[in-house]
Structure formats: C-alpha cells, structure tokens
C-alpha cells in the first residue's frame, strides 16, 4: 500500500471513529430535546352530543407521547392527558410526531454510529499494525546491514 493511500485510509478511519463516537454520544441529548417537547396526548372527536351523557369527547386510539406544536389543536386536558382535536389535525394536514418513533429512529441511529465508530477504529488499527510491521522490518534490515 502506498504512503498516500495509507494516509487517506488513516484520515477516513479517524473521521469515522470521531464522527461515530460524536454521533453515538449525541443521541441522549437529541432524545432529551424531543422528550422535552412531547406531551402525553389523546386525539379526540369533539361533538355537541358529548354533553348528553356527560361524556368527554370521543377518544380516537389511546394516549401517546406526541409532539404537536400548533396550540390551536388542543381542546383541553383530562387526567393530565392533553386532548387534541382530530378534525383540526386532519384539516391542517398535521400528522403528529410520536416520541416512540423518535426513540426507535434514534436507537437505530445509535447502532449505526457505533458501527461507523468501530469501523473507523478497525481501519486505524490495521494501519497501525501495518506501519508497525514495516517499521520492524526496516529496523531488522538496518540491523542486518550494520557491520559486525
């Protein structure tokens, strides 16, 4: 392997190791920032007939931790769960981001970053071993060629 190519691989390995490590380390912070924005939310259908049986609005699905940034979608709170108007979300083409989707994606990203980091370290290790071997070879040659 030429010296130029070795240098290139060393650069790639170092970049992968650093970026992978930084990426993996940043995951908890990204998660935290999304978690801070997410609120346990129940999508509901609001109807004037809800009062007839002293019911709240009709729940659509179960409560989920969601990130909804439009305050106009919120119609109230019940037992600590934020109620959002499903009709409003639909009419404004809002498909709320769920925290579990963020977590699932981040978990996969973490695996990817760790793999990239490991790959970078592997390249660096291989280059180091090759360089060490060449150095030992050169030292041996120098020793052999010295007059006894």
């Amino acid at each position: 392997m030429g010296l130029k190519l070795q240098k290139l691989f060393k650069g790639v390995g170092m970049a992968a190791a650093i970026l992978g490590a930084l990426g993996a380390l940043s995951i908890p912070f990204v998660h935290q920032s999304y978690e801070a924005k997410s609120i346990l939310t129940q999508r509901v259908q609001v109807d004037s007939a809800d009062k007839l049986f002293n019911d709240g609005p009709t729940a659509i699905g179960s409560p989920q931790k969601m990130i909804i940034e439009d305050p106009k979608a919120v119609v109230g709170t019940k037992d600590g769960v934020r109620l959002v108007n499903d009709a409003y979300l639909q009419s404004h083409h809002i498909y709320p981001l769920q925290l579990k989707t963020v977590d699932f994606t981040l978990e996969n990203a973490r695996t990817g970053f760790v793999a990239v980091c490991a790959f970078g370290w592997l390249i660096l290790l291989l280059i180091y071993r090759k360089q060490r071997r060449e150095q030992l070879k050169a030292e041996a040659l120098t020793t052999d060629s010295e007059p006894s």
Binding site: R43, A49, K51, L52, Y95, K100
Partner: protein, 202 residues
C-alpha cells in the same frame, strides 16, 4: 269449546308478542344525518409507532329495551373509508394483502346474545366478520339511553337515542391477515377496535 279455547290462547300469545316487540325499540344508526358522530377506529401499537385508522362510515341498527335491558343489533363498518392519516398507508391497508376492501367491502358485527352485567354495561356475544372471515366473539358494550326531550333536541337529535360504545382486541392472523416482513415493527399483530355510535329511534 275446544276451538274457542285455542283461539283465546292464540290471542293471548299474540298480545304478549306484540307487547314484547313494542317494548324492544329499534334504533337506527343514521349514517346520512349523523354519520360524523359515529366513530369506528382500529389501533395498532407497534415498536415504530402507534397508528389509528378512523372512519365515520358506520351503519346498522340496535334493538334495545331500556327497561328489560334486552337487545340485539347489527353494526356495519365500511373499511374503504378508514383513514390512518397517511394516504399511502390507507392504500396499503385497503390492498389485497391487507383488508382487501374490494373483495370484502364490509366489517360486520351481529349480536346473537346480550347479557346485562351492571348498570349500562353488557356482554354481547355475536359474529364478527373481517376480511371475509367470521368468528364468534364476546365483547364488552356500554349502551346508554336518552328519551326524547329538550336535551336530545339541544344535541341535534329528534326522538329517543341510544349511545353504544365498545372496545375489544383481535388478532389479525385469526382473520387471515398476515403482516409482511417489510412491515414488521410498524404494524402490530393484534389490534384494538373501538366503536362509538349514536342510534335514533325509528
């Protein structure tokens, strides 16, 4: 004498039958006028996300006696109108690999036996048909009755009404719906079906 006796027995029997049928009121799920008030939903809780498909396409009837708490009914849901919030997913849901709504255009529950539990709560046993597969299931149902009056009128209803709500789980594989490997983690093997519907006396 014998003929007279037989006739009187028949008259009494027919009187009882007419009383019984008069007591069991029929309530219709009026999809045209109040369709927007009826909600059927299907929820899948998977690792990647929880998604809910919702439709107002609910029709059918409920026969119910508020005093004796005896009833029957049939609920039909239009699977073509289920909206999951993402048009592409709606397409997938309706395709031949999933609900196959062209071949099976109805999801039907038909009550066969109603058992009063407590207050407005019932256990209803009946046949549930999804994806062309019919199975006998028992589901918890809440039925509440409101007689015609100013409260009903204020809510926009003319006449007596009943509100029926239910929630139960099914395993998709039991109804011949298999999840492709590609969608693993995105769609759950078992889903929750919920229904909230108003029916008006006819």
């Amino acid at each position: 004498m014998k003929i007279q006796k037989t006739l009187s027995v028949l008259a009494i029997a027919s009187a009882f039958a007419s009383i019984a049928s008069a007591q069991q009121h029929k309530f219709e799920i009026d999809a045209k006028t109040f369709g927007y008030r009826n909600v059927a939903s299907i929820e899948s809780v998977a690792d990647f996300e929880t998604f809910t498909g919702k439709t107002n396409g609910v029709t059918g009837y409920i026969a119910f006696n508020s005093k004796t708490k005896v009833g029957s009914g049939k609920i039909v849901v239009d699977p073509k109108s289920i909206d999951t919030g993402i048009p592409l997913r709606n397409e997938h849901m309706q395709s031949a690999g999933w609900l196959d709504t062209t071949k099976y255009p109805e999801i039907v529950f038909e009550a066969a036996k109603v058992q009063a539990i407590k207050g407005n709560d019932y256990k209803v046993t009946g046949s549930f048909t999804l994806h062309g597969v019919t199975k006998k299931i028992t589901v918890p149902v809440t039925v509440r009755y409101s007689a015609a009056g100013p409260a009903n009128k204020a809510a926009g209803f003319e006449g007596d009404i009943v509100r029926l709500t239910t929630k139960f789980n099914i395993v998709l594989a039991d109804y011949g719906i298999t999840i492709p490997q590609m969608a693993a983690g995105k769609v759950a093997k078992d889903v929750t079906i919920s229904l909230s519907t108003y029916a008006i006396s006819k």
